[in-house]
Symmetry: D4
C-alpha cells in the first residue's frame, strides 16, 4: 500500500484521522463489534452477496443499506415475504431494482454503479426444475461479475436426450456450472463432453439415504471425469469461482 | 408337506429314522453345530454360492465337497491362490470344472447335474473394467439359474457414446444389472432408456469421500429413474434377483 | 425414430413446426425453463407420479392439469388439506376421481383413459400399520401400471404367526414388495420363503439410533436372503420396479 | 468394610502393612503403574476374562499367570497360534486345562478352584456359523459364572423353520442370548416368542453398507420387540449380563 | 395350542366361527388392515404401551379404547394437551385413572383388572432431571408388570457423592435401570458397584457433537463394566426387560 | 469434611437435623426428585449457568429464584421473549439486573453478592458476527468468575489483516478463546502466534456438508497448532475453563 | 463427426473396416471386455494418467505400453518398487523418461511427442511437507497440459509468515491449487488474498476425528472465501481442472 | 522485529546475506521444498516433537539430527525397532539419551541444553493401562516444557475407589490431563471434583460401535462438567496445552 498520499492528505487536512485509519487498516468498525472488510472486492473481484435466509428482516435491510452505500450495488438472496417488505425503504433509494421471482433474489443499484465488463461466458445447467433457485444464485453472481451467462435448465440424465439437444448452448462457454440434486450425475456426463472447466453444484433435494444433496456431493467428488465441486446449495460460490475462471 | 409317504417309507424300512427326521425338519445337522438348510433351492430357486474370501482354504474345500454331493453343482467365488490349491482334490471328483479367470470364480458339476432351463435373458453392464469381477459374480449366478446372460463392460458415463453404441445388446433383456463404482451414474442413465427392471450394483472402488462404493450406493438409491439396488459388491444377490425376475 | 412421416406432415401443413420439433426432440419446453420429457412412458412404461409434499399447492394443481391433458391420467401422492382444496378445479375436469384416504393419494382420469393391462400380480406386505401410507403408494403405482395387486398389512416379525397365516395371499405373486420400518426384518423372512423377486421398501419410522428408516435400509442391504432394495419411503420406485418385473 | 479384623491382624503381626493397605484400598499396585482391582468379583460376581487379541503373547501369559494365582481360574479368549505357544508354561502350572477349539478360548483352573453354583439357565442362539466364536465367548462366560448353558447354533431367519424346530431347547431358559451378524433379525423374532429377557449380541460379519455388525446393532436397537443389546462382538458382556439375570 | 376345546365350543354353538378363527390364528383383524396380536401378553408377559407422540389424538383414543376393552388396562405415554382432551371420553369408561404429571403418562384400568404380582424389585436412577420423563416410562412399565420400583433421580457423575449417599436405595434391587444423557457415564459407575444386571437407558438431551443421546449410547456400548443397553429414549423397552429379569 | 462442628451445632440445637443432613451429604433434595449439588462452586469455582433454551419459561424462573437465593447471583442464557417476561418477578427481587442484548443473557445479583476477584485476563475472539452470541456466553462466564475479559469480534481469516491489526488486544491475555463457525480456521492461526493456551469454540453456523459447526469442530481437533476444544456452541464451558486457566 | 472422408477411405481401401468402425464409434475394443475411449483427449484436453496404486505391476506396464503407443506420452503415478521394475521394459522403448522421486511419478515420451503449449500459469501450494506427493501429482498434470507451474511448499498456517514471504510467487498465477491436510485452513487464507480461482486439494493425513483428509475436505467446503474443491488426494483432478481454467 | 542489528551485522560482514534473510523471514529453506519455522518455540513456547509413526526411519533420523542441532534437544515419539536402530548414529552425537520404554519415546539433549524452568505442576491420569503410551506422550511434553509432572495410572471408573484413594496426588496440580478410551468417563468424574482446568485426552482403544476413541471423544465433548478436549491420541497437544496453562 502506498502510505504517503494518505498521510499527506491527513497532514493537509483533506482526510480525517478516522478515515485515514480505515484506509490503512483496510476495514471499517461497525457498531462497536463488526469489522467490514473494505478491500475484499479489490482483492478477490467478488461482490458481497447478502443471504437473507436465517437473518432477521430488519438486519437484512440495514446490511443492504450499508452495502449499497459503499459499493453502489447489492445482491440479496433467498428473500421471503417478510424480508421483501422490510426492503421496501431500501429499494426506494436505489436507482434500479431487479427482482428475480423464480429465485427470490433482488439486485439493487445506484445510478453511479458501473458494472464490470469481461469477455467471459458462463453456462449454468440444471438436472431438474427444483435445482433452479440455487442455479439462479450462481447465474446472477457470475453476471454481476461481468460475465455473459447462458442458462439451460431441466436437462437431467433421466431423459438425457434433452441435454444432447441443447448442447450447442454450452459447448463454447469458458466455464460451466452444473447444478443437480438426487444422484447428481449430470455434471459428470457434461464434463465428459467438453474441455472447459466444469463446476459441480450439489442441490439439497431428495429424501431417504443420501438426501439433502449428500449423495449428489459425494457423487461429484467421486466423478470419473474432471470436475471441481462446491458445497451443497452454494450457488454464490459456484458463480463467483466460475466468473474468476471465465474472465481469465 | 406331505408326511404320509415319508412315514410309510420309514415303516417299511426304506428310510432310516435319521433321514426321515431330516426330510421333515428340512435341514441337516452338520458336525454338531451347523444346520444345512436342505429346502432352500426348492423354496427360492437360488443356488448356494460359496464366498471363499474370509474363509480358511480347507473350510472352503470341505463346504464345496458337501455342496457338490448334495446339489451336483457348486459355485465358489473370490478364490485366491491358496484356496485354489486347496480345491484340487474336490476338482478331481467333479465331472466338469469351469474356471473364470477374470473373476476368480470356479464352478464344479457332477455328471448327473441337470442345469435349469428358463427363457429369461439378463444383461450385465459395467461402468469400468474394475467393476468386472463383481459383475461376473452376478453373471455366473444368473446363468447358473438358467438365464441367457449378455455382458457389456466398460461403457461408463465418462465416455457415454460407448454405451449408446452397444445399446442393441441390452435393449431386449428381461432384466438388466448395471455395476458401477465411483459416482455410480450408469444405472440411472440406462434405467432412463429401457422398460425392463434395472438393478443397480455398486462396486467398492474409489478413494476419498464416498469411497468404497458408498457414493455409488447412495447415488443409486437417490436415482431420479426407477431402479432397485443391492449392497456394495453383492454380485451374487444382483444375479439371483435378476434371474428371479427374468425367468418370470 | 421414423422421421419421414413427421416431416411429411409438416410439408403438408398437417403439423406445425413447433409440434414437429417437440416430437423430434422428445420433450416440450414449459414456461421457458422446464423441459417435459414426452417419451418417458414410452421408454420406461412408468407413469408420472406427482409428489405433492414439498411443492406449493398451486404448483401441484398446475402440474396435475398438464399431466392429465397429456397422459389422460395423473397420480398425486402425499396430499395435505391445502393441496386437496387447490386440486378441486382439476378434479372437476376429470371424468373419474379416486381418493385413497389412508394414503392421501388421488388418481384422476379422463374418459379417454385406457388403462394398461398385463397379467402380472404384485403382493404388498407391511410390518406394521405405520408402513401403510408408503405401501399404498407402491400398490397404487403397480396397479396403475396394469398389475393385479394384493395387500397384506400388519404382519411383522414381533408376531410372526400373522404372516404365516396369510401366506397363501402372496405365495403366487410375480413380485413381492415388503415395506417395513424399525429393524426392517420382515422382507428377509419373506424372501427366505418364496421364489418370486422380493423388493425391500424401508419406511422412515422409529426413533433413536437407526431411526427414520436407516436401520431398516441397512438391514435389508445386509439381508442373508436374496433381496433388492429401494430408498427409504420410495413407494413409487418400489411399485414401478415391481410392475416392470411382474408384467414380464 | 469391617476394618477392625484387618487392623488387629496387623497389630498382631499376622498381616504385613503392605497387604493390609491393599485390603483396605481394594486394589494391588502392579509394576509401579497398574492397579489391579481386587474387589471386582466380590462386587459384580463377574470373572476376569483376558482378551488375547491385540495383546503381545508374553503379556497375555503373564496376565494369565497373575490371574490364576489370585483367582484360581482364568479365561483367555481369541488366542492365536503364537499366544497358544506362549501359554504353554502357564498351562503346566494349572490343574485343569480346557481348550475350546471352535472359539479359540482357553480356561485354566487350579486344583483349589471351586466353581460357583446357581440354578440359572442360559440359552445361546446364533443366526449362522460365523457367529459361533462370539457366541462361545458368551457361553463360556455364563457357564463359568455358574449357569447351565444350552447352545443352539445356525438357526437364522433365512431358513426360519430351523429355529422353530429347536424351540424346545430355549423355551424355558432364564435368559436368552441371540448372536447375529448381517441384518441381525433373529433376536427380534426370538424375543417375540418368549417371556425370558433376550439379549441381542451383534456380530461383526458382512460387507458393504452396514457391514461389520453395524446393521445388526442398529436393527437390534430398533427392534419392535423387547430386547436389550450389547456392543458388536461383546460376547463376554452378553454372557456376564445373562448370568447376572439368570442366577436371580 | 389345544385345538379341541375350541372346536368343540364351535360345534356346540358356544363360540362363533369368527371368534374361533381369531383364537386359532392368534390375532384380530381390525378395520380391514391391522392385525392385533392377541397372544403377545401371553407369550412375552409384556403389556401394550401406547406411544401418543406422533399419533393423531383421535387415533390414540381409539387404540386406548380397544386396548382397555381387551386387556382391562392401558398405558399411554408422551401425552400432549390435545391428546389429553381427546382421552376424556375413554377416561370416563375406566374405573381408575392414574395421571403421572412429570412424565405425561396415563394409566387406565377397569374394575376387573387384576395386576400381576411378582417378587421382583427394580431400581431406576437418572443422571439429571431432564432424564426423568424417559425414566418414568421405564418405571411405570416395570411396575405395571408387577415389580416393586424404586426411583433415585438426579445423582449424576458431576456430583458423584449424591449417588454414593443413595446407594442403599438400589443396592438390593433385582435389576437396575440407569437413564442418562450427555456423556452417559452414570450406568458405568453404577455397574462397577453392584452384582445385579444393569440396563443403560440413553436419553436424547445435549447439543453439539454427540447430541441427542448419541454420545450416551456409544459410551454405554463401550462401557468397561458389564452393561446391556436399549435405544435412546426407549424407556418402555428398558422397563419391560428389567421386569422380565427381575421377576425371574 | 470436618464433621464435629456440624454435629455440635446439632446437639446444641443451632442446626436442624434436615440442614445438618444437607451439609454432610452435600446436596439439597428439591421437590422430591432433584438433588441440588451445594458444593459445586466450592469444588470447581464454577458458577451455575441456567440455559433457558429448551426449558419451560416458568421452570427457568423458578430455577433462577432458587439459584439467586442460594448463591446471590444467577446467570441465565439464551432467553427468548416469553422467558424474559416470565423472569420479571425474579428481577424485581434482585438488587442488580444486567441484560446483554446481543447474546440474550441476563445476570441477576443480590446486594449481598461479592464478586470473585482474580488477576486473570481472558481474550475472546470471533471469526464473524454470527459467532458473537456464543462468544458472549463465554465472555460473561469468565468475567463472572473474576477475570478481566477483552472481546475482539469479526476478525476471521477471509480478511486476515483485521486480526493482525488487533493483535495488541489479545497478545498478553492469560488465556484466549477463539469462536468460529464454517471452516473454523481462526483458532489455528491465532494459536500459531501466541504462547497462552488457546481454546477453540466451534459455532453452529453454515449449511451443506460440515454444517452446524461440524467442520469447525473437526478442523480444530485436527489443528496443526496447540489447541484444546470444547463442544459446538459450548460458550459456558469455554469461558469457565479459560477462567480456571487464567486465574492460575 | 464428418463421416464422408472416413467412408471414402474405406471405399478406396485406405482404411480397414475395423479401423473405420473404431473411428466412427470413438472407442477401441481391448481384449474382449474393455473399451478404450479414443476421443477423450480431443473432447476434454485431459491426458490419461495411470494410477499404479491398487493395480498389479504387470497391468500397469501393459496399460502404459498401450497408452504411449496411442498418445506418445504417458504419466504413471504412485509407483512402488515392484511396479518400477515392471516398467523397465516400457521405459526402454520411450525416447524420454522423467522420474519425479519425491512423488513416485514417471512420465514417458516418444520422440514424436509434441507437448501442448498454452500461456496459462498455475501455482501449487502446500501446507506441509506431507502434502507434497499429492501436490506433485497436480503439478505434473498441469505442466503436461501445457501450463507453466510454480510450486511453493510447506507454508501452512501454523507459521503463516512463511506464506506471506512467498506471496510474490503465486500472486499472478492464472489458477492456484492449495493442498492441505489436517484442518485444511491454508486454501481459505490464500483465497482471501487473490483474484484468481483457487482449488482446494484435501490431503489424507492426520489421525483421530476428522483424520485422513475428512476435516480438510469439510473445512474447504465450508470456506468463508470463494473456493472450489476436489476429492481427498485427487491431485490429478485438481491439476487438470486448474489447467483447463488457466489455459483459458 | 528489530531489523537494525541484523542489517548492521550484515554491513560489517559478521552475518552472511543468507543467514540474515533467514532471520528476517523467520524460516529456513530445507532441501528446496520444506520451510523450517525458526520462530515457533519463541512464539508458542512449545518444543518440536517428532512423531516417528508413519515416517521412514531414515527421515526420522535426519529430522532428529537437524532438530538437535538447532534446538539442543529433540523428543521423538512412537519409535519402533527399525527406527530405534536408525537413531543410533544420532544418539552418539547427543550428550544425554533418555529412553522411555513403556511409551517408546526418546529424548536427546546436547550438553548445551538448558531446560526451561517454571513453577507449574501437571497431573496425568489414565483410566486403564492401555492408555499409558498416549499419557506418557503428554507427560514427557509437559515435563520438557518445564513443568513438574505427576502420573496416576489405571484408576478408571469400573473400580472408582482406586481414583479416590489417589486423590491427594492430583488435588493441587495446576492443570490435570485425563486420558481414557472406551466410554471415556474418567475426565468427567475428575473434573467434577477439582478447580484446576481438566483436559480430556481420548485414547483409540475399544471395538464395535464407538471404537477407536470415538465414544470417548464424544463423551468428553458432552461432559456435564467443565472440560476441554484434544483429538484422539493427541498426547503431545494435551501435554503442551497443559504446560501453557500450568506455567501461568
Amino acid at each position: 500500500m502506498d502510505l504517503e498520499p494518505i498521510l499527506e492528505d491527513v497532514s493537509e487536512g483533506e482526510l480525517s484521522v478516522a478515515e485515514a485509519r480505515e484506509r490503512i487498516e483496510g476495514f471499517t468498525r461497525v457498531d462497536d463489534f463488526a469489522r467490514f472488510d473494505t478491500r475484499r472486492e479489490d482483492r478477490n473481484g467478488v461482490p458481497e452477496v447478502v443471504l437473507a435466509e436465517g437473518k432477521r428482516p430488519a438486519d437484512v435491510a440495514s446490511i443492504a443499506e450499508q452495502a449499497i452505500e459503499k459499493e453502489d450495488r447489492v445482491i440479496i438472496t433467498r428473500i421471503d415475504e417478510e424480508t421483501k417488505t422490510a426492503l421496501e425503504d431500501v429499494q426506494s433509494s436505489a436507482a434500479e431494482v431487479e427482482w428475480i421471482e423464480q429465485a427470490q433474489i433482488m439486485v439493487l443499484r445506484t445510478s453511479e454503479y458501473e458494472p464490470p465488463v469481461t469477455d467471459g461466458t458462463v453456462a449454468v445447467l440444471t438436472g431438474g426444475t427444483s435445482d433452479i433457485p440455487v442455479a439462479e444464485e450462481a447465474a446472477v453472481t457470475a453476471r454481476e461479475m461481468g460475465c455473459e451467462v447462458e442458462t439451460i435448465y431441466d436437462v437431467g440424465v433421466a431423459g438425457i436426450h434433452r441435454m444432447f439437444a441443447e448442447r450447442h448452448q454450452f459447448d463454447d462457454a469458458d466455464c460451466i456450472i452444473v447444478a443437480a440434486g438426487r444422484e447428481g450425475a449430470l455434471p459428470t456426463v457434461v464434463a465428459g463432453m467438453v474441455d472447459a472447466p466444469v463446476i459441480g453444484l450439489p442441490v439439497s433435494i431428495g429424501y431417504g439415504a443420501g438426501a439433502d444433496g449428500k449423495a449428489a456431493l459425494l457423487g461429484m467428488l467421486q466423478s470419473c471425469t474432471v470436475l471441481s465441486v462446491v458445497n451443497i446449495d452454494a450457488g454464490f460460490v459456484a458463480g463467483a469461482q466460475a466468473a474468476q475462471a471465465a474472465r481469465g
